[in-house]
């Protein structure tokens, strides 16, 4: 595979639910090692975009390639392709009946058919990567929100994905827990793990994103380097959005 092949490429994605058009022609690509942040008001199609990219939701129209291989080809085995995409959910979606370690190792055992002891070993090392080796034996309901989300990140990382999707990973967290999750995400970003991050954490976007894609009305309204989009956007909707976010941000810092 040539080094120019983007890790992921989306072309003209459309998705409607009934009469409401959620995605209305979204195209972009992401190179190896890039971090893209997706922002936009709620209902602008950010989560739907992520779900269409790993076919948790099938787009009505449009195509997606992962490492040059078209995954929207209906003859392809989606389950194989999804293993290469790590997905981190807003509400964590940890498996409630399994310990943190089992949450990470179950897909290794059942999907990758790894031996149990190998899967356990790998799970523990992934938990260590997100600083959670000491809660490996605990169940999700015994963990804080920040710990849950880090287990979820470890669970995704264990599959050795070529790209990570984060769907508002800190939106369900108490303010004092956001930092520990962002720190892990920053660390992974600095390791150049290709990622698409739906978030409104401006600080995170500024420090690690290569590009911000701002979504609205089902399309990408504006895109560019974080500083440009946050401080000097052209589109009126984007201007308004960041004006409000910046006000909020300053108020919190005070």
């Amino acid at each position: 595979m040539s080094s120019e092949t983007p890790v992921l490429r989306a072309e003209d994605l459309h998705k409607s639910y009934g009469d409401s058009k959620v995605l209305n022609g979204v195209s972009f690509e992401i190179e190896r090692g890039q971090i893209k942040v997706v922002c936009g008001p709620s209902g602008s199609g950010k989560s739907t975009l992520l779900r269409c990219l790993n076919l948790l939701t099938w787009p009505d129209k449009g195509r997606v390639w992962l490492e040059g291989e078209e995954i929207t080809d209906p003859t392809k085995d989606v389950n194989k392709l999804r293993q290469k995409i790590g997905f981190v959910f807003q509400e964590f979606n940890l498996f409630n009946h399994l310990t943190a370690q089992k949450n990470v190792s179950i897909a290794l055992e059942k999907v990758k058919k790894m031996r149990k002891d190998e899967a356990t070993k790998l799970a523990l090392s992934e938990l260590k990567r997100v600083n959670l080796e000491d809660v490996a034996h605990k169940y999700p309901a015994e963990l804080s929100g920040g710990q849950k989300q880090r287990v979820a990140i470890a669970r995704a990382l264990a599959m050795n994905p070529v790209i990570m999707f984060y769907d508002e990973p800190t939106s369900a967290l108490d303010p004092q827990l956001i930092g520990e999750v962002l720190d892990v995400m920053k660390k992974l970003a600095q390791e150049r793990l290709t990622s698409i991050v739906v978030t409104h954490e401006i600080g995170f976007a500024r420090s690690v994103a290569d590009e911000i894609m701002f979504m609205g009305e089902g399309t990408i309204l504006e895109r560019g380097p974080p500083d440009q989009i946050i401080s000097n956007p052209k589109h009126e909707t984007v201007k308004q959005f960041f004006k409000r976010i910046n006000e909020l941000y300053r108020r919190e810092e005070r």
Binding site: N79, F87, N96, K110, K138, Y139, E142
Partner: protein, 220 residues
Amino acid sequence: MTTVWEFIPYIMSGITWTLGLVGGGLAIGFAIGLPISIGQTYGGKEMKSLLDTYVWFFRSLPLLVLLFLFYWGIFPASGYKLDSLAASIIVLGLRSGAYQSQIFRGAIASVGDAQLVAARSLGMRKLSGVQHIILPQALRISLPGWSNEYAIMIKDSAITFALGVLEILTRTRYVVMATHEPLLPYFFAGGLFIVLTYAGTKAVSVVYEKTKIPGLIGRM
């Protein structure tokens, strides 16, 4: 009076039959009900309406009608010569399957779709996700409802006296007919049903406590 008490071992040996009816019925009901609940939740439109029809049929007819229909009608007509015990177990099982399916269906729904979406996002196939992620949680959640099904089944099993199955009630009736003394035998039979119901539901609630997911409170 003494004659009545002499029959107590005879009535007591009906416990084995009652437990056979209940155990067999619940086991068949589980084997039928669980796949039905999975089909109803995840299956296609045609499969759903087929399964709905099954559930609707067995929940609509009185147990007595089902017993007569199958024992005197459907089994002989389709060439099966089943004795009354086997026929009763099968009918109790077919019927319990309809009820159990609704217990499991509710439990699966309360586990929530997000769990399966997470499993799918890791590349798990749908059925594998149902097996490893959904069912272990749903079966725990369904235990209280399932213990209710046991309590109902214990009592329903007595209706098989109509086919002469030698369970507790049938034997008690024979004793009453022989002694012309209804009060004590029926009291005794009633006591047996109370003990069996209590012991069974207690056992299920012990299992429920033992298999509780640590930290998860109030969800089940």
